[in-house]
């Protein structure tokens, strides 16, 4: 008799394990740490995530697999192939940038430090496990590990109504999506008798004709849970409110790492497990992609720049639009003879998107240091106040739009576009082109706002601030921070006169921000450096788009 338990290749699982163990360490350390040393926990988290990223280096051959069955045809539950490694790099890197963003927020909004970092790391561990898992049970559990701490993170601003409602909405819809997904998994299991992706693919190849409809229904239902995490369109309604209600770094985290959990799960189940049913999920994903990008971009167009949190809302809707682009190569895989070659474009696009979107969120956080309303109009004439921040923000927005000098954004879009054309999805390519054009409008409008002349700023912001005086967050006088105030927090004390007064002070604020927190600067600098490096050498990620990752 062979060994009773599975052998474990600890090096292969190290990126996930280090992330989870760091979370545990942070949670325990929190108990013994004096309150004034709590900021240390943030740095422990960042160090742990950096270590997890380093753990990816010995795996670059991409040939490791562990948690294999001890009997039968040695199916493995955990495979560290190139797809898994690339997505793990995205997850760990995204969590690292989020952590840098969070250091200030945790202190400023008095979030419970140990718990915050622990939840962030647990969620990241789940999201890192997901791309490496190769059976449906692990996929579902990993999806839950990635999302359950995220519910808590969204609702972490205790006592804040917007935060609580956002968490409830996010939670209830996500749980329903999981249930539907599980029903789909059960049907797939019924048709194939296995949960391991490769065996499922083999089983679906020659399904008993009587089980055909069952298997097809199972395939479609399984996609629901992952499409929900990706915020693809019928399952996207939680996005704007959750992003606005959550602390800003958490919104950034959801827009990048949450989406990575969604698309990597979708890629695994469609391209690896459900390949024989490509004629079922291919059109479904294509329609989903078209709907997602159109809805996201049209809604982003309709955002009013002077409303509270309009910057976050715009980023939320733009992230829905970007999710549509992420879906295009996956849909194309359904039409292509060699579906595995298509997935690379999604991963490459996601890496680009992760860097620039986190960077954009970081600049929004930076602007919120002085003007915590998260309004688009707060970014007016940022160039005259903080030229470097404005330049980096302009760069990030141009990357998202896909215009030079955001070369990497352009190339990633072209890679995605090519997959659609290559697999004969002409109509989807057209829809995508139209959407990229729509998106240009609001990204460029925002960029133009950054470089507007400051003299025109005062008369236009003041009436806007007055108009929203009843619901606007209390605008602080520069220098004193108001914890918990940003976002949707309704501040009953903000009477018209104080708002008008503080708007006046805001207009007269010094051209350079009083003190920019170092972690925030580091996050922006890191994202900008990565973005510029990728624009200079796009082949770094674009080589993922050619050839297969599995």
């Amino acid at each position: 008799m062979t060994s009773l338990v599975q052998s474990v290749d600890w090096v292969a699982v190290a990126p996930v394990l280090v992330t989870a163990l760091t979370g545990l360490a942070v949670l325990v350390t929190d108990l013994f740490l004096a309150p004034r040393h709590k900021p240390l926990l943030g740095w422990v988290t960042i160090a742990g995530l950096a270590l997890a990223a380093l753990c990816l280096i010995p795996l670059t051959d991409g040939d490791r697999a562990t948690f294999c069955l001890t009997t039968g045809d040695r199916q493995c539950s955990y495979v560290a192939d190139h797809f898994a490694l690339a997505v793990q790099l995205l997850v760990v890197g995204g969590a690292l940038l989020t952590a840098l963003l969070s250091v200030t927020t945790v202190r400023r909004e008095a979030l419970p430090a140990g718990e915050y970092w622990f939840l962030l790391l647990s969620s990241a561990a789940g999201a890192a496990l997901l791309p490496a898992s190769r059976d449906l049970a692990t996929l579902i559990v990993a999806l839950e590990v990635a999302s359950l701490p995220a519910f808590a993170l969204v609702g972490l601003r205790r006592g804040d109504r917007g935060s609580a409602e956002a968490a409830l909405k996010f939670f209830l819809s996500s749980v329903v999506a999981t249930a539907v997904s599980l029903l789909g998994v059960s049907f797939v299991y019924a048709a194939t008798g296995s949960l391991h992706l490769d065996t499922v693919a083999g089983g679906l190849d020659d399904v008993d004709p009587r089980l055909n409809a069952l298997a097809a229904l199972g395939v479609v239902l399984t996609l629901v849970g992952f499409a929900f995490k990706l915020a693809a369109v019928p399952f996207h309604f939680w996005v704007p409110d959750s992003y606005v209600g959550a602390p800003l770094p958490v919104a950034a985290y959801l827009s990048v790492v949450g989406k990575s959990a969604g698309f990597s799960g979708l890629a695994l189940v469609t391209v690896v497990a459900f390949r024989p049913y490509a004629d079922t999920w291919g059109p479904a994903l294509a329609v989903l992609a078209a709907l997602t990008m159109t809805t996201g971009n049209v809604a982003a167009l309709r955002q009013r720049p002077d409303q509270p949190a309009s910057a976050v809302r715009l980023l939320a809707w733009s992230s829905v639009g970007q999710a549509g682009y992420l879906l295009v190569p996956l849909a194309a895989a359904g039409y292509h003879d060699d579906p595995e070659e298509m997935v690379g474009a999604t991963v490459a696009y996601a890496l680009m998107y992760a860097v620039v979107n986190l960077g954009a969120f970081a600049v929004v956080a930076l602007v919120a240091e002085n003007r915590p309303g998260h309004r688009l109009t707060d970014h007016r004439a940022l160039f005259s106040r903080n030229p470097l921040a404005a330049l980096t923000m302009g760069f990030f927005l141009l990357c998202l739009a896909g215009l030079p000098p955001g070369v990497i954004g352009l190339f990633a879009k072209v890679a995605v576009f090519r997959t659609a054309v290559d697999s004969g999805l002409g109509w989807l390519a057209v829809v995508m082109a139209v959407n990229v054009t729509i998106a240009l409008y609001y990204y460029l409008k925002w960029t133009a706002l950054l470089f507007a002349t400051p003299t025109t700023a005062t008369p236009t912001t003041t009436p806007a601030a007055r108009a929203t005086a009843t619901t606007a967050p209390a605008a602080p006088t520069p220098g004193t921070a108001t914890p918990g105030a940003p976002g949707q927090a309704t501040a009953p004390t903000a009477t018209g006169s104080t708002v008008a007064g503080s708007t006046a002070t805001a207009a007269r604020e010094p051209s350079v921000p009083a003190s920019v927190p170092h972690p925030l600067t580091a996050a922006i600098a890191l994202a900008a450096a990565l973005g510029v490096a990728l624009s200079g050498a796009p082949q770094l990620i674009l080589r993922l788009a050619s050839g297969t990752l599995f």
Partner: protein
């Protein structure tokens, strides 16, 4: 016996739960309906496990139960938090379906 009866039961339970999620407005009741849906999935898993004669279905049913338990814990914490803020557990107030 014919396993299809178990599957009918599972399908009906799932749709009853789904209907409840769509109709009911109390967050805790919605939550109970989700539990019904998850249980329906479990019944399907266990039945299929029996049909195939391997244990994988029962294992994933077990995982689902643990996941459901974890969800209940977090879900109730969120519901309590929202109740504390506005003294109602109705989902309508939360504008669940608002864009």
């Amino acid at each position: 016996m014919n396993p299809v009866n178990y599957l009918y039961l599972s399908a009906l339970l799932f749709t009853i739960g789904a209907a409840g999620v769509l109709v009911r407005r109390n967050a805790i009741i919605v939550f109970m309906c989700v539990e019904l849906m998850l249980n329906a999935c479990n019944l399907a898993f266990v039945t299929f496990s029996r049909i195939h004669g391997n244990l994988d279905g029962q294992i994933i049913a077990f995982f689902t139960m643990v996941v459901a338990a974890a969800e209940v814990v977090v879900g109730l914490a969120i519901i309590l938090m929202i109740f504390r803020v506005r003294h109602s557990a109705s989902v309508d107030d939360a504008n669940l379906m608002k864009l």
